[in-house]
């Protein structure tokens, strides 16, 4: 019985840590924008990294994906989907970006 409430508390703490971490990263994201404006690449790079960090926090604390042996298959699937996504997204940007330069669409 005691073991059970202990487990419950530990798992609840996991969710609260995930929430607190995500909240902090969100506040940082909007705080950086508010403080420094959104015009420069450096600011956007910071925002992108904060977004990536939040994705990882939520995957670990909310979706319980980690490198434990038993959740490997889920992680493999995420990694494979990420590979597919990278090919699709980078390929699209490459080809359409190239097209737009050749068509002088950036002159508009």
């Amino acid at each position: 019985m005691d073991n059970r409430t202990e487990m419950h508390r530990r798992e609840r703490r996991r969710y609260v840590i995930g929430y607190g971490g995500s909240l902090l990263l969100t506040l940082l994201m909007f705080g950086v924008t508010y403080q420094y404006g959104i015009e420069t690449v450096g600011v956007y790079l910071t925002i992108g990294l904060l977004g990536l960090a939040q994705l990882i926090v939520q995957l670990v604390y909310f979706l319980h994906i980690d490198r434990r042996r038993s959740s490997r298959e889920d992680l493999d699937l995420i990694l494979f989907s990420t590979l597919v996504l990278l090919i699709i997204i980078l390929g699209t940007i490459w080809i359409l970006g190239n097209l737009s330069i050749r068509m002088h669409m950036h002159m508009m």
């Binding site: 059970r4 487990m7 419950h8 798992e11 609840r12 969710y15 609260v16 995930g18 929430y19 995500s22 909240l23 969100t26 994201m29 909007f30 924008t33 959104i38 015009e39 420069t40 690449v41 600011v43 956007y44 925002i47 992108g48 977004g51 939040q54 994705l55 939520q58 995957l59 909310f62 979706l63 319980h64 994906i65 434990r68 038993s70 959740s71 298959e73 889920d74 699937l77 995420i78 494979f80 989907s81 597919v84 996504l85 699709i88 997204i89 699209t92 940007i93 359409l96 970006g97 737009s100 669409m105 950036h106 508009m108």
Partner: protein, 210 residues
């Protein structure tokens, strides 16, 4: 002492207290995870189109004219909090707390989901008033192809929450209902992941490069 809990599918695992439901959930939850990943690829395509369309404003209103970061901030906090309340509902389920408590957390989640949608629709209306309608430019078509697609997912999640609330009351805690609830929680957390992509790429990216 430090025995790691068994973990057989993504999301919270129910463990030995719901042994039969846990076993039943294993295969279907993995199948649902495969669906979510293919949904992710679909969203990825929409993101790719948006990125290539950022400059294609055709003289129409752009991100600086249309985006309301305060509202986006509020929506982010609401969706993040709803991800926590779904997690708390799952803990209530896992640790055999009264069914009313699970339904209560689902109710809170539903309210948060609906207020998210209300804010989002208000934003779309404000954009339309400034001339930001899907047919105005490639940029706006891409925007309205992506962000409302996420909103549609949230709306489907709200409907799912209502249905599960009813099933929990009427059918009780059967293995089937429990396994559906597990998948609903997974779906809801997934929506928050997509939203992080949307604020990072659509809103901040749009304001930086648009």
């Amino acid at each position: 002492m430090k025995r790691a809990p068994t973990h057989s599918y993504p999301g919270i695992n129910l463990g030995h207290r719901h042994a039969s439901a846990d076993k039943a959930a294993e295969v279907v939850t993995f199948g649902f995870w495969v669906f979510l990943m293919s949904d992710l690829v679909y969203f990825g395509l929409m993101f790719a189109i948006y990125i290539t369309m950022i400059d294609a404003q055709a003289g129409g209103p752009g991100p600086h004219d249309l985006f309301d970061l305060k509202s986006v901030f509020a929506q982010t906090l609401i969706l993040l909090t709803s991800s926590l309340t779904v997690g708390l509902a799952m803990l209530a389920l896992k640790y055999n707390q009264p069914r009313a408590r699970i339904v209560l957390w689902f109710g809170v989640t539903l309210l948060l989901g609906l207020s998210f949608l209300a804010l989002e629709i208000r934003d779309f209306m404000a954009m339309a008033e400034k001339g930001g309608i899907p047919q105005r430019s490639g940029f706006l078509s891409a925007f309205f192809g992506l962000v409302p697609l996420h909103g549609l997912h949230v709306a489907a999640g709200c409907l799912w929450l209502i249905v599960m609330g009813i099933q929990l009351r009427v059918m009780g805690m059967t293995d089937l209902v429990i396994s559906r609830v597990v998948r609903l929680a997974l779906f809801w957390h997934f929506l928050d992941l997509i939203w992080i992509g949307i604020i990072t790429i659509v809103y901040f990216g749009g304001l930086t490069y648009g």
